[in-house]
Point group: C2
Chain length 662, copies 2
Amino acid sequence: MEAATLQEMAHAIRFLAVDAILAAGEGHQGVPLGMAEIATVLAARHLRFDPLDPTWPDRDRVVVSNGHGSMLLYALLNLTGYAKISLDEVKRFRELGSHCAGHPEYDPAAGIETTTGPLGQGIANALGMAIAEAHLAARFGADLVDHRTWAFVGDGCLQEGVGQEVIQLAGHLRLGKLTFFWDDNAITDDGATRLSISEDVAERFRVAGWHVVEIDGHDLAAIDAAIVLAKADPRPSMIACRTTIARGVARLEGQRGGHSGKLFPADRDAMAATFGWTGAAFATPTAIAAAWRATAEPGRTARAAWSSRLAGADADRRALFERTMAGDLPAAWRPALQAHKARLADEGQAAFSIQTSSDVAALLYDIVPEMMVGCADLEAPTNHKRQLAAFDAADRAGRYIHCGVREHAMGSLANGLAAHGGVIPLAVTYLPFSDYERPAMRMAALMGLPVKFAFSHDSIGIGKNGPTHQPVEMLAGLRALPNMLVMRPADAVETAECWEIALDHRTGPVSLIFARQQLPMLRRDGGPDNRCRRGAYVLAEAEGGPRRVTLLSTGSEVQIALAARETLQAEGVPTAVVSMPCWELFEAQPADDRAAVLGPGTVRVAVEAAVKFGWERWIGESGGFVGMTGFGASGPADALYRHFGITAEAVVAAAWAGLASA
Amino acid sequence: MEAATLQEMAHAIRFLAVDAILAAGEGHQGVPLGMAEIATVLAARHLRFDPLDPTWPDRDRVVVSNGHGSMLLYALLNLTGYAKISLDEVKRFRELGSHCAGHPEYDPAAGIETTTGPLGQGIANALGMAIAEAHLAARFGADLVDHRTWAFVGDGCLQEGVGQEVIQLAGHLRLGKLTFFWDDNAITDDGATRLSISEDVAERFRVAGWHVVEIDGHDLAAIDAAIVLAKADPRPSMIACRTTIARGVARLEGQRGGHSGKLFPADRDAMAATFGWTGAAFATPTAIAAAWRATAEPGRTARAAWSSRLAGADADRRALFERTMAGDLPAAWRPALQAHKARLADEGQAAFSIQTSSDVAALLYDIVPEMMVGCADLEAPTNHKRQLAAFDAADRAGRYIHCGVREHAMGSLANGLAAHGGVIPLAVTYLPFSDYERPAMRMAALMGLPVKFAFSHDSIGIGKNGPTHQPVEMLAGLRALPNMLVMRPADAVETAECWEIALDHRTGPVSLIFARQQLPMLRRDGGPDNRCRRGAYVLAEAEGGPRRVTLLSTGSEVQIALAARETLQAEGVPTAVVSMPCWELFEAQPADDRAAVLGPGTVRVAVEAAVKFGWERWIGESGGFVGMTGFGASGPADALYRHFGITAEAVVAAAWAGLASA
């Protein structure tokens, strides 16, 4: 049996992609046909991977940021021997339940390092992975951490703003082990790229400090040489690959329709004739299949050597590495956090809400060295840097990433840090800017990544900066997102409890939402029982008779509910206050427990400095609501609360209105 | 009285800003102190404006994209004589109700062309304004339309992805009348810009096709010369102004604290000593004030000449121009749209939902020439281009903007088109990518701009492309946004009605949300009564007795509700179906009307292929809901509807469950 050539191996990607797309009846052939040579040379000559151990910590990471080109990835994974991407799965491309979904869906055990589809975010994830690698290499040494991050990148990824943020930031951070393959096919969905862009993309990367190599993306030797150069350069590398979209399908080659225009069996026949391909559908000729399987051998050897190094490492270092990569926290964090909470409850001091979060973070940083923090140019007002050094080109051991005014890249790179593993990412900005970060937060939720998103400046309480900086709808928007815990603590004790929940929560992201302003201490019980874990709880029970009114609130408005309760109690109305720091956790409680908290038959009034949207779930159709009905305004915070009628008096009035109509 | 110098005029900005910030007790002095010379030279030598007629259509547009520097704008407007920005207002800077809010708030009558604050969006608005100018000049001639757009730009604006999208797109479109003043002060909130960026920003603009001039931003002659060069160059111009942040306040000059560090009276005293300033607080010396007032004279003359040209123009051309700039629609649109609707109802054909929107758009394009459409590289699958030519560097008469894969810039430039006036913007993409555009949608809602946002691919109905491309929470997220009409029509007749509402709606944006898939025609009544205008209405009343069940639905699920109704009716349960294309309009109906539609005392079940969040408003705490509980999946659409249990059978079962517990 003659050894297969790289070109034949590349064609194997092409035919597997076309066969899968024909079977599915739809799909995007542009990328797998256009980037087949690139993927082949990467896998055969350079990629460090072991299909038998897909989650090997020191593997290279591969991201298909142009995620519609998913069949490029599935072909690569299938041909190199990843068990979860079997031929049966490829045959079920785009069918319900297949590991070969329309777009790659995060599953490291299958070799899928991140979910991609919304353009630009994949390369931001790759940036996060490269940061994680550089940082972990500094922590643990190159004998345990020394791998690369490779991303396949389309024109769309580089037009999206987040992609440009990535180019700036990766160049600035000089992440030399990050390499992009730009699929320079001069075509987007609308047609020629000249419809919407005129810039020299390669030059744009150079300006940002990248190493750029420009090649023919179908020239196997040129691809290899470019990768060799990329590996040798201390800057991140962009390999600009001039390609022909849908190369091989003559009818669509280089055309707009090459992207995802419908394929027919005749296209496959023509391509087979052109390339002299003898394989039947889904049948890669034996020699070529063998050559593909052989690409995994260097990685297997490297993996074995790595395992030996790990096994031979100092026991403490090994244990720390293994714990870190497994995502298990050191045991000391919980007692420390609980002691902190007990101290807070005992002292009973008012505190700036966002500061209560950074106090917890600063406490955790020393105990949980895998925490890394990104912040979008708001270090001082959010104050989550504390004792951390900056992660930058000079100091890879630093743990604080100055992300610049780039919220979207921040969120997406945090997803990349989490997907890489070994790092627990915290991303910090103001809540009004969460809209910029939201696309990344959605992906964290979809992937189930344990990213901690923290926000300050959560309401009109920020005052004079005005409505652009005052969230009113963002709480509702985040609560609507599946698989996202949204937590808005009312005081420093609740902050500590919410942070405890956040660290325990490993199946998805959390949003920790804080006020800018000072909040009084409402909770004086500092015991180990985490009341926030139930999502909502009776903070102050009705007195003097059966409960008639239930006031529901979160965050900075809980103090208003408590003040209203005082009045109502004085007026002879037994009134309870329920603090609801996390709706999602409350929703997950048994129905009876929920009912006991909400007080069936009582008049319910909610107070939150945000829109009502969603509150009907808890107050019912006839419940009262004191909050915002539109955007905020510029003025002192106390004047705004009065102006918008978010006061204890208004809550009392709403309660009486409810009692009157009950 | 000796004539004041430009330098003295610049100092007048400085002192007004510092006096206002001292009075407010807080504010951002960095920009007004750092860009005072730039603003002065612009206003005194180049800016085309008339404070006595702030909304003169042919005025230059000024955008302070670094919106925290709002006092730069207020000082400029006050000193040049805009009545709404009186000294009394400036003295109330950042107080509730002042026209001088913390960040500039859109009010053309005050000279405030757009709301800024969230960084990067201001320059995207400016891009839209420059597009509007170029297009209207092509439509109406340079005698009526010939003005420039100037933007003050901070480092943050250029780090945000949307800013980079703007750089690419503006360079591509060669908008020669767009000029940026980059406040190159090497400082952001975190400190030195080198913490987060290494690139040569000027070079980055050059790569994108911009004309760049690099100057000392405090050198009056250099600023003037640079503006002269900018005006002469056919490319958009970026004037890189090397500045000292907080120039004049010695304690903070060039420092991180210069941005918004607290000012004290002693800082003002020191600055007065440095600059030999004799004016008391808020008292600009007479000669300097007079020089500032005189800057408006050339504009007043230009405005008078322009008015003469307009008065002397052909009556039809003049009427068309005035109608267009007033935002009044030509009368013919409504009869045409209603005739279209009548025809659709008569024919009763099923149709692809997004296509029903582009059918309406294509009908309107010829009647409403002020409609311009932007699309983020999805021309073919959304099909809203139709007969429109592309707006590009070669054809300013074109009305379709290939925005590239840049949703955020698309939305923000649409806001700029609307803020400019004379253009009715429509921005089109898929609903799953609305998160990328959302920051712009929020600003449209906050400003009350009549932007039409249209979306296709609104649910799991898109099928095999999987959960990244399947909105589940986005309807709720948009419904939570104040001042945004969210409309999801159920068939082509509702599409026509929703479009009618959209064109009538001038006090805020609308979101028109369409499915990718084909929807049957449900409505056969094509009369002029626009039933969608009530937000929700009884599409099919219960028969055979008093209504016992009310099924509520929107968009592609209304057909499922109708099928469930058939079953329930057959089972002897009088059941109504309510179509709810627009919650916001329904909420605005009289309570009795709402109750009549919702059917008090009936069992209510909602069906929508999205999360339940927010539906409790209409179904109550105990109502049934058939929809999504999490993210979607990759698979054929019909399989997904079955998999997630969004079926007529499930709706029937939920109704029976409700009847059993009632």
